[in-house]
């Protein structure tokens, strides 16, 4: 499924200063029963977002109208646990294009990049600054500049650069994915597979 191109994103952000946010919280297993990619955003953070009777939990950040935006800012070790890509779909389909954390779990990071979410890994210190800025002003904007590989807190001008490999960066900027790439080298793959032991 193709995704929208990503270059520079200027947006307010939703703060979630919780560590080890695992993919079972992002989307609980009981909502993984669809056979197509529909409605996962409705169950994003389901058990943190809603009570058992489906009424919203007032103290959860997604239910707080003062916070909004296309950037989700999470605590350390975001996306740990299950490999379910549904977690990334839920985040994307809800309207986030970028997740910021001081540390991402590997599989989540790969899934995010594959579907068009930019994971931006910042220092613990910078993450703290972002949370402080949002706390001071929920409408504080961040600017994520993919070509320049920087993230800036616009209110204070503080900025940090982030890492991404050239191949993935190019994909995100152009809205390409790995499947397109692999299709282009099918003959080479078939040759290689012919010689493989298994």
């Amino acid at each position: 499924m193709a995704y929208d191109k990503f270059t520079v994103l200027k947006s307010t952000a939703v703060p979630m200063p919780i560590e080890n946010v695992d993919t079972d919280q992002i989307i609980p297993a009981r909502f993984l029963k669809a056979t197509s990619r529909v409605d996962f955003d409705k169950n994003l953070f389901r058990d943190w977002r809603y009570n058992n009777d489906d009424s919203p939990k007032a103290d959860f950040v997604l239910n707080n109208p003062i916070y909004s935006g296309e950037i989700l800012v999470g605590g350390r070790n975001f996306g740990s646990g299950s490999s379910r890509e549904h977690a990334a779909w839920a985040i994307y389909d809800y309207g986030f294009r970028c997740v910021v954390s001081s540390f991402f779990a590997d599989i989540f990071k790969g899934n995010a990049l594959n579907i068009g979410i930019l994971p931006v890994q910042v220092s613990e210190d910078f993450l703290h600054k972002i949370f402080t800025a949002i706390e001071a002003d929920p409408k504080a904007e961040l600017e994520v500049n993919l070509p320049a590989q920087t993230i800036t807190i616009l209110a204070t001008g503080e900025s940090e650069s982030f890492a991404i490999n050239g191949y993935k960066k190019n994909n995100m900027i152009n809205g390409y994915d790995d499947i397109d790439y692999l299709q282009s080298m099918k003959a080479e793959i078939a040759d290689f597979a012919d010689k493989s032991l298994y």
């Binding site: 919780i18 297993a29 993984l32 299950s82 379910r84």
Partner: protein, 466 residues
Amino acid sequence: MSALTSLFDKVWDAHVVRKIEDGPDVFLIDRHFIHEVTSPVAFLGLESRDLGVLFPNRTFATADHNTPTINQHLPVQDPLSANQLKALETNSAKYGISHWGLGHAKNGIVHVVGPENGISLPGMTIVCGDSHTSTHGAFGAIAFGIGTSEVEMVLSSQCIMQPKPKKMRVTINGKLGKAVTPKDVTLFIISKLSAAGATGYFCEYAGDVFENMSMEGRMTVCNMSIEMGARGGMIAPDETTFAYLKGREQTPKGEAWERALAYWKTLKTDEGTVFDIEYSYDAAEIEPQITYGTNPGLGTGISQNIPQAANVLDGAASYAKSLNYMGFAENEQIIGKPIDYVFLGSCTNGRIEDFRAFASIVKGRKKADNVTAWLVPGSHIVESQIKEEGILDILTEAGFALRQPGCSACLAMNDDKIPAGKYAVSTSNRNFEGRQGPGARTLLASPLVAAAAAVTGKVTDPREFL
């Protein structure tokens, strides 16, 4: 002299089709497992791009996550689950993929049936849209979980693209104490490194503890590698590996076996190879383990008290949230905590050795009245072994019933959910909030600890019984 290389490098490098500068490696996948939950959208993707399956004989399908564990002969009640199971069957048939669905004699949890039928072999690259694919690393394979986009890549091109992870080695030497099982070894390592401690790494396990471990024990250890954040874990193949594999349904036979064996014997880390990071522990440090928090890194020796926030790697706020969810407090003793449920099963501990261990404690005793126990074999083959070895009689005698194979309460996607607020001693791999059902409280432990809890109705040191 060629450079020293690790087991991991040898297997990885042998599969690289193309290296992209400032990008990932494109590498070939030898075996691909699929199940009903993470594959349907990948098949839809194939259709929308008008792509086929490049090598259908390198992919194997089994239904496990959504399947009921009682009355499997009846139609699946939940229409959404039934729909996913049907989609797996239809997609497999359409593309010529072998499918071990519900009711098939070889059906079971993907990470149990792969090894048990000799599909997973040393030196392979193995993936599945499931994070516990790391299990197959026990055979000296590079095995790890992938997302649905990658499932689509493997189906359409037999390759995925990832940067090569860094290398970690965990060495444990010495002799394990009484009632200390492979599950305790892995929970111990994760508690030392934390739930994120190995992120970015692929882990090799070395030392005599792993050399002396059975294949099933090695699978338990590699299975949980993901719980410390590692991409996967692996153990060099040796005589134990070869003996386990010989004669299994899909292993090479005759001359092909000899050829494979000669290759497999080269699969070890050269002495003197430098890892990006190394840890080593003494087997004598490890006692039976149990978790008390909401990530697998929050575990400790069963005789210990729940640590103070200052002594865990998680931040204070997250730690407080975790203990609050569990209804526990710092400094409390874990032994003696009353429990409500016991779950024996999952791809971590749903194999025959796990049932033997469980039976060794419940034999001649009775299930505690306050405990609901779900004993769920990892596959039909395990289920038959339980019956043939007389373990079922021991379990029945002690007041337990056996369910049918599947993931069951490991992830609560099927009907087996632990009710809100209840405590479950579980042999599975994740104690996240709500993992075993909304509000469920999970204490991860070995089959021996689970058995001791099942007969006493509270957290109990299994050493008392052995």
